[in-house]
Amino acid sequence: MITRRGFLAATAFVVSVPMPVSAAARDLRPNVFVRLTSDGEITVTVPRPDTGQGARTAAVLLVAEELSVDPDRVVVEQAPGDTAKYGPQMVAGSSSVQQMFQPLRTAGATARCLLVAAAAARWGVPSGECQARDGFVVHPSRGRLAYADLVADAAAIDPASVPVTLKPPREWRVLGRPRVRVDVHDVTSGKAKFGIDVSEPRTAVAVVARPPWLGATVASIDDAAARAVEGVVAVVPLDSAGVAVVANRTAAALAGRAALRVTWTGGNTAADSRDWLTELGQALPAPPTAPGTVALQATYRLPLLAHAPMEPHNATASLTADGKLTVWAPTQDPGGTRERLAQILRLPLGDVSVFATLAGGGFGRRAEFDVVLEAVTCSRAVQRPVKVLWTRDDDMRHDSYRPMSVHRLSAVVGPTGLPTWRSHEVATWPLTVVPFFNDPALVRASGDHFPYRVPGEVSIALRPAPLRTGFWRAVYAGQFGYAEECFLSALAARAKIDQVAFRQRLLPPDSRLVPLLRQAARAHCRPGHHRGVACHVDYDSAIAVVADVGVRAGRPTVERVTAAVDVGVAVHPSGVRAQVEGGVMDAVSTVLGAQITVREGRVVESSFRDYRWARIDEAPDIDVIIAASDRPPGGLGELAYPPAAAAIASAVASATGRAVTGMPVTGEVG
């Protein structure tokens, strides 16, 4: 309902939206990714959000290389959500660099070729005699012209009339070179703007009272005390499962939520995650008939995991009385969010704008837009822009968790000790945030990337998820890969064959993993430590991980991890190493203790006090070897986690003498 008063209030302010300005005649804008002005400003528009994976840096480097300019001269702009204009924008499937590699280089090369054509025309020489170099077009006898001086001429040329050529890799001066990411100065000065830092005029802040146990709904609300808190402007029931307290300031919203009295009803106050794991164990598919004696069988039980990005979920929405919606959010998917919002709210797509801010981590959770809808509901109710902020407690207890899973693996072994047949039965839950994922074939496609020459079978049983589940870095490969590589390590130990040699004998000779295993093992070589090894192939990339574990004061400690990775062309080597390091630390955390548990219907963990994420004193030295390659980039963000977890768990088993039975390897699972 839009009242006249609301309409006036809502139109009394101007929302500062970076509007796509109609290109000034003198700007060179050959495509949606690159813009040069006659003042010498070069802007790169980055289609993917940056959640820490380095999309902004990669985009700048790809354009700067082909445009022959210093990347430090480039201004970075984040593309608003618009898939028709920018192509797929979702940060998912480790695809950001992979999918930007061709279009962003082509964008830069197009601008370069137009500038060269403009210079050649001005000089009256063939284009082939001119070269683009460091912001100038140069000619052996005519001298040089700055890009800024060529912009107007270049803009007048039809881009389709100029052949566009990409630089051969041997001429690269930017890609693959050491350099720091483009946001370092903003991050280290505190200027970097995340979703939580959005500060549009008149923005109110909302925090939401959420069900204290699974499935509870609101029976009644007593909001007198909450409304009495200074600064609280409204109490807004969101749906049956949340009540928002909206205030002028964050502190008031938090105090208002603390004062709010909600009576909850229904739900499941008996749910216990240990029971869920037991039920999954009972749901395992029957194993197929083995073509011989099963020499080894192992069962692995994996817990719930939360995403817990450092920046808790938040979104700011402004829904004006005339039906224009603007959203600022640390989203992994600005384009998809815009389209879904238009559908759900029945708004014309052109009336919905979604701006992706920097995101303080994502790990899969920010592909969802539930928090955006909450902000829209609040904005509609109070007729102001509203930022909804999830507290850490909300974030941890109301996540879309990685599903629990139980894996049973069996192998028939030949006389050499190598497996000749394998079977892997899995019982797990689908991802409730994407209903179409309720399909064993999709779960298998996500999870099963077994790269070794061992025939066998994988069978999957999906049970209904008892709580919200979603994409968590590596998705099902994090579970399948962990179980498969832990089991392979157990088979190698049983056969008393070196872990690296064992895998090399099982791999096809032309596998990319063969040289990676050799490189990782050689670089890692250090005697006297308990060692784990694991591999993974996914997203057109490959990785081998070697981990050393020691035992300090009775507790396993990861001392050193070496990873050799083949990602094709490493666009930004420091970023490549960072993604592997991140996967390794996720592995340290989840193998040595972090898990989500449910007791009496409530998620127990509510902060980093009890969700045992690794701290700096648990961080091993990490060495990342990047294999030289001229293949186009593969994906990387999710590649390192599964093998790092398996290598660490197997090293712990070697150090403690206790076989791996699940994750974490210490304490009770579930």
């Binding site: 991050v187 939580i196 500060s199 850490r392 991140g582 980093f608 701290r615 961080a619 990490i622």
Partner: protein, 176 residues
């Protein structure tokens, strides 16, 4: 000092009519004095962020368990999410915005390309500044001890460790 009497204009005209307190607290942040009109029990973090527009200190948990909000108050590293405006009024507050451009910690964080998402890094940096003030040449074990309550979810710890070592060296070189 300047800017005494500075107050946020963002919400002028929207003040709640039920306002009951008149409480001005004088905060000294990064060398500037501000008078802020908030209840004394307001966490310093929200005064910095919502009243002064200094968003470098981050909200991560609100219970002092993650370190994302770490700032300096006088010579202590303080979790500003669990420290109130009334407690810290009149003291010398330094947030990441107050670190000089050439501060050894900033230079080291840039040189080591520490950040992934970057959200926790202001808190990590301020914890490192605090450590290096009391211990200009820390061992790895001392770095781990000083920073163990600053969570980084992206897993940049071993770069943080290397950056603190580098900052220590840069600081010593500057002192010589």
């Amino acid at each position: 000092m300047v800017a005494v009497g500075w107050t946020s204009k963002k919400f002028s005209g929207l003040n709640d009519s039920r306002k009951v307190h008149v409480a001005m607290h004088r905060l000294r942040v990064n060398g500037i004095e501000y008078d802020v009109d908030v209840p004394g029990g307001t966490p310093l973090l929200w005064a910095l962020r919502d009243e002064l527009g200094l968003t470098g200190a981050k909200y991560g948990c609100g219970i002092g368990a993650c370190g994302a909000c770490t700032s300096l108050v006088d010579d202590r590293a303080v979790r500003t999410c669990v420290s109130t405006v009334a407690e810290q009024a009149g003291r010398r507050v330094t947030t990441v915005e107050g670190l000089p451009v050439d501060h050894p910690v900033r230079r080291a964080w840039i040189a080591m390309d520490v950040a992934q998402c970057g959200y926790c890094q202001p808190g990590q940096m301020m914890a490192a500044v605090h450590l290096l003030r009391s211990n200009p040449d820390p061992t790895d074990a001392q770095i781990d001890e000083a920073l163990r309550d600053n969570v980084c979810r992206c897993g940049t710890y071993h770069r943080i460790r290397a950056a603190v070592r580098l900052a220590a060296r840069l600081g010593r070189e500057a002192a010589e």
